[in-house]
């Protein structure tokens, strides 16, 4: 066994196994993992951070969507939720995790969510307005959170804000973790301009400076659990292009193991590690979204501006939807536009005259996730009829917004509806089928699988932040969140991870 390694980065290698010892090992470097790792390191603990994907700096980021799916998405976005339809699940696999490819929207944890966690899940002692609020203050300062500036909003988001104002609805430029954004719509590709303040360019570099160790291209395969206590992890390096297996690695963690492999990675990893808790993999939730393309007489140029610079929480409480502008790159728009052949090409020729706005639904539906016998991940999630109604309402409202600011028609992209809806036919949305198969949903805000809570029947992680029945094993990512939020989740995930790491360090036994 080697002595603790300080300030080192190990990437894919085929030589002898890498063996390390540290106070803590963190699995996954996304929103939760990076926040936990930097908190532990700042508290003076030795930390090894293991990330399945490669470490790409902004100059390594791709330009195209092909490159983005290849270099940044987890398995090309090929994971799907099944049930009665097929819903793609988008997540990243690289140092920094999904925030590297996300829209950088930052929203504080709503007070009603914290209250619900206190009342129904017994979490008020750990996660409350005070602890989460303080962590979020710090995050906002460190990640330079600021509202999207008027000069770079981009024409699509500008219009959406105008439409919201005209209809008297709440609307705001999104708060984002960016500095000097030039509005070049590269959020999904990671932002080669270095505007996005993600952990791969901030916290993980700082972690190295503080003497931490980063293993990239390092997929953790098992958590070692001995006599009811987590003692470390093991796995193999995997080449990011060839996907072949390289050397093995093992990390012994004397104080604890933090799991932050995401809402699709953490529960399957724990299942593989032999954890048998009845609620593990259950309680899986999401905010799926779908969009409507508004078609205008003049150029909108949705390829200018950030991917998502306008939003509305007007209907968060009553309907359970959040409205956002979402500019899609040309490569992705084709799949979203109906038809094929010359008809499709005619629509694509109007790309610059279109704007895409979406409704993200705070679903009631509860799904499940598990590792299959073949080692793959099976995700079951079926939005309920009520969720479908919410989406349908959202799409209708979004269409109304488009018409308010001059769209001549919208392309709803709903099977069973006409391909084009005009202001006169807007009410046809009320007859759109309440059938999952009729909508083109995408899943990007995911929760659960390793839920926190006081009730052992509906939770995996206890309010003392230890996995039930296993000391020193903690889950600090979206999978630990016991409910949906109704707002974008990364701020909540980062804050929860910081609060949990801080608390566990403070409770350490000598």
């Amino acid at each position: 066994m080697q002595a603790p390694q300080a300030g080192r980065h190990f990437s894919f290698a085929t030589g002898p196994d890498v063996e390390l010892t540290a106070d803590y090992v963190v699995v996954g470097s996304g929103a939760g993992g990076a926040a936990a790792a930097i908190t532990l390191a700042r508290a003076g603990r030795s930390v090894v951070l293991c990330e399945a994907g490669p470490w790409r700096d902004p100059e390594d980021y791709p330009h195209t969507m092909y490159g983005t799916m290849r270099d940044m998405f987890n398995n090309w976005g090929s994971l799907v939720a099944t049930g009665d339809s097929i819903i793609p699940v988008v997540q990243a696999r690289l140092v920094g995790g999904t925030p590297v490819i996300n829209s950088a929207i930052v929203v504080r944890t709503p007070a009603d969510v914290l209250e619900d966690w206190r009342v129904r899940h017994g979490l008020g002692g750990v996660f409350n307005e005070d602890t989460i609020g303080r962590a979020q203050d710090r995050i906002e300062q460190e990640l330079q959170i600021q509202p999207s500036e008027a000069e770079i909003l981009g024409p699509s988001s500008e219009r959406m804000l105008q439409a919201l104002e005209r209809l008297g609805l709440e609307g705001h430029p999104t708060m984002r973790n960016v500095a000097n954004c030039q509005g070049v719509m590269q959020c999904l590709q990671g932002c080669r301009n270095r505007a996005k303040q993600t952990s791969n360019v901030l916290w993980i570099r700082e972690l190295l400076q503080l003497g931490g160790t980063v293993l990239s291209c390092a997929e953790v395969e098992r958590v070692a659990i001995e006599r009811g206590r987590a003692s470390g992890i093991r796995g193999h390096f995997r080449h990011p292009e060839e996907r072949n297996r390289g050397a093995g690695f093992r990390v012994q963690a004397t104080r604890g193991v933090f799991i932050a492999a995401s809402a699709t990675g953490s529960a399957p990893l724990l299942q593989r590690s032999g954890v048998r808790l009845p609620y593990l993999g259950q309680g899986w939730r999401a905010h799926p979204g779908a969009g409507v393309l508004g078609v205008y007489d003049e150029h909108i140029n949705m390829h200018r501006g950030p991917s998502q610079a306008a939003a509305s929480i007007h209907y968060r409480a009553d309907i359970g939807i959040k409205l956002e502008s979402l500019s899609l790159p040309l490569e992705l728009i084709a799949a979203r536009v109906g038809g094929a052949g010359p008809q499709l090409m005619h629509k694509l020729a109007q790309y610059r005259k279109t704007a895409m706005w979406v409704a993200a639904v705070r679903c009631d539906a509860v799904g499940s996730i598990k590792r299959t016998l073949w080692g793959s991940t099976a995700l079951h999630f079926v939005p309920s009829k009520k969720d479908l109604w919410r989406l349908r309402e959202g799409l209708k409202i979004v269409s109304k917004l488009h018409f308010e600011v001059g769209a001549t028609k919208v392309w709803p992209g709903v099977y069973g509806m006409p391909a084009e809806i005009t202001p006169d036919t807007l009410d046809l949305f009320d007859q759109a089928p309440l059938d999952n198969k009729a909508y083109t949903w995408v899943l990007s805000h995911l929760f659960g699988g390793c839920s926190l809570g006081a009730d052992p029947a509906t939770s995996v992680v206890a309010p003392d932040l230890h996995l039930r029945g296993v000391r020193n094993l903690h889950v600090v990512d979206a999978s630990a969140i016991p409910t949906t939020l109704g707002v974008n989740p990364q701020h909540t995930i980062m804050a929860m991870a910081m609060v949990a790491a801080e608390r566990l360090v403070n409770e350490e036994r000598p």
């Binding site: 290849r70 490569e331 728009i333 799949a335 052949g341």
Partner: protein, 131 residues
């Protein structure tokens, strides 16, 4: 041979028109070779299955018992449109798959981007930190 059939499907789905250059004027086979090198097997299987359905389903869409490449141009067009909006969910999902993959090639093409007044893409570096 198979890659040519896949390329053909993509080309009829994204044909050149007066307004835009289509996939039929692009280097589809080299793109597909690269796609097969880069993607997980699941994606390749999904694309191949979708293409197979596209090729063999004219009977289900327009009632003509011929593979899609043997249809007249007009019938090919009808077949495409019917498949894209087919009442059977899994059938219409096949067009979604073909459009998603072909869209990656089409939307990144410099001629297409130029005709839509957009800057061409630079080459993806494909690099990462190795140490």
């Amino acid at each position: 041979m198979w890659l040519r059939l896949v390329a053909w499907c993509m080309s009829v789905t994204f044909p050149s028109t007066d307004e835009l250059v289509g996939v039929d004027r692009m280097e589809v086979v080299p793109f597909l070779r690269q796609f097969n090198r880069d993607t997980p097997l699941l994606m390749q299987v999904a694309l191949s299955a979708s293409v197979l359905v596209f090729l063999l389903s004219p009977l289900l869409t327009i009632g003509v018992p011929l593979p899609a490449p043997w249809l007249s141009k007009a019938n090919q067009q009808k077949h495409l449109e019917k498949l894209a909006g087919h009442p059977i969910y899994l059938l219409r999902q096949t067009m979604m798959m073909i459009k998603t993959v072909a869209g990656l090639l089409w939307g990144a093409d410099p001629q297409v981007r130029k005709s839509l007044g957009m800057d061409p893409y630079k080459v993806d570096p494909g690099s990462w930190r190795q140490a």
